[in-house]
Symmetry: C2
Subunit: 326 residues, 2 copies
């Protein structure tokens, strides 16, 4: 499948270590837009420094990437054979305890923010906490503000009750940008059928993760197994609510995995993601590099989706969703 | 003189304490745009909080004010009987030691930054320092970046050598937004004739200050004296380089004056501005409220400027300058 002839192809989550070589691979992959993670545990000032770095990259690699502020920018990326970069946070740490920082970051281009990353945040409870207190006072205010500005509410790493409350409270549909159904693999990061049904009923989106620990048989997961999962999810909540959020994390040394898991909140490495190993797991052989998105498209066709449905899953659903929320 | 019928009327520096009543006075004054001070000694995060406050004001007082991002916004302000707010810093403290923060703040709407505020900054030497080391390494990089983005370089509170070096180094013309000629009143904050000539020769602008300590006879300065000063400056550097930068600071308690002078860098109050008193001086009787801009226009006409020249001084020169730099 030649993705360069298709539009739109969107990956709703990548958290790689970026450099020109990776941007070149992105541009060669056929992707039109990718939601990239700017921050995990970073505070406001650290996040501004990261945005500054991206601003310089947009100048230095203007032939390969551009910032996505509106969905028109995704079309511009396609038409100029570049990749649109959608700024997002995997945690609310960049806004610290200040509501007004949401608009500040929105003005700087941020279009997606997770309410929590694994742990309790000031907005809600993360998926690895023992007790789930749901949305906080600040969390409800933050959702109001994100609704007002048009910023996607992401609950991929958020606890079950907090997810349900966010779906209920938000006036806009929300997203699980990168996770799979718990019925496919029973890990803390995956989502229950009840939650996925509520998500879809409110107009929300699920982006399927390719991160090995979210897949059946981990690194040995087959393309057929992955596509069968997509098939069952389409039966459960409707194909129009499905997309890809690969969770591709390329190029990082192992100690960055430790930072992603434990930030500065733990003096010993945290044992999240059902694995005590602090080394990056291997991605499945059919999805281990940016060029492999075409394999997913082909797998979905072979599983029985028609070409229009494959187009929806590979990006058209995300584009419609972003247009609605932004 | 009914300023509401004139366009454009621009004040290149006000640092008042803002609330709805003051915004109402601004809108009633006939001003089309005003450059407001967001930061004196504030660091990056404190400045973001101030911008957040303004973002809320732009929503709450949308009938009176709007943010100026381009000169078109000044015309929109005039046509809708509102006042355009031009964001500026009186110091480089908001960018701390990070070049990339200039673009961050530019994206958030900041269009003017002083290189220094009285003291040595990381960019250059302030006008109250004993030794004048001129532009720093970071200062030259900051000027390159401000030139690239189109941000006005302001040297009102900057030392003589640093001013000269900034004029020489910058590819864009620069501004003294609020000061007077030293030949009019010999205080540290006013500027030498040599400097004003170099400023004008490079296409720069001088905004006349109404702050009493910069005026002949202070609070007792007459309108005629002020206008005669403008006249002599026009003879010296040309009327096309002149504007108003009133330095109007309304509504602050006396302890804010202490903060403006001493920030957190001194444990005792600094004796700047040629006055040991830590109380706000009275503005001249003919310029003590926002409605008094019309008095200046009338005074300039009586001094012998023709109506076109008065129009230039009251705002057209600033608009042309901002268009060139932004």
């Amino acid at each position: 499948m030649n993705l360069k002839q298709k539009f739109p192809i969107i990956d709703a989550l990548q958290a790689s270590k970026w450099d020109r070589a990776t941007f070149q691979q992105l541009a060669d992959s056929g992707l039109d837009a990718v939601h990239v993670t700017l921050a995990f545990w970073h505070d406001c000032k650290e996040t501004l420094s990261i945005i500054s770095k991206w601003n310089q990259w947009f100048i230095d690699h203007n032939d390969l990437i551009l910032l996505v502020r509106t969905i028109d920018d995704v079309r511009i990326a396609h038409d100029t054979s570049r990749v649109g970069i959608i700024f997002g946070f995997q945690n609310s740490s960049p806004i610290e305890d200040e509501l007004g920082l949401i608009e500040i970051f929105h003005t700087l281009g941020v279009r997606v923010m997770q309410l929590t990353y694994n742990n309790q945040s000031l907005l809600g409870t993360g998926c690895y906490e023992s007790n789930d207190a749901g949305l906080t006072n600040f969390g409800r205010n933050a959702i109001d503000e994100m609704n007002r500005l048009g910023m996607v509410i992401d609950v991929s790493h958020t606890s079950e009750i907090t997810c349900f409350e966010a779906i209920e409270y938000s006036k806009c549909p929300i997203a699980v940008t990168h996770a799979n159904p718990i019925s496919y693999r029973n890990v803390v990061r995956n989502k229950s059928d009840e939650l996925l049904i509520a998500l879809a009923e409110s107009g929300g989106m699920l982006g399927f993760s390719l991160y090995p620990l979210h897949l059946e048989d981990g690194s040995d997961c087959t393309l057929e197994s992955f596509c069968q999962m997509v098939c069952r999810a389409a039966d459960l909540i409707g194909v129009e609510h499905l997309g890809i959020g690969s969770d591709l994390c390329l190029g990082w040394p192992d100690d960055y995995l430790e930072y992603m898991r434990s930030g500065t909140w733990s003096s010993t490495s945290s044992k999240n993601e059902s694995s005590s190993a602090l080394i990056w797991p291997d991605y499945p052989s059919w999805f281990c590099k940016l060029n492999d998105f075409s394999n997913i498209g082909e797998g979905l066709l072979e599983t029985g989706f028609n070409s229009e449905e494959v187009n929806m899953i590979m990006g058209a659903n995300w584009l419609r969703f972003f247009e609605e929320v932004w």
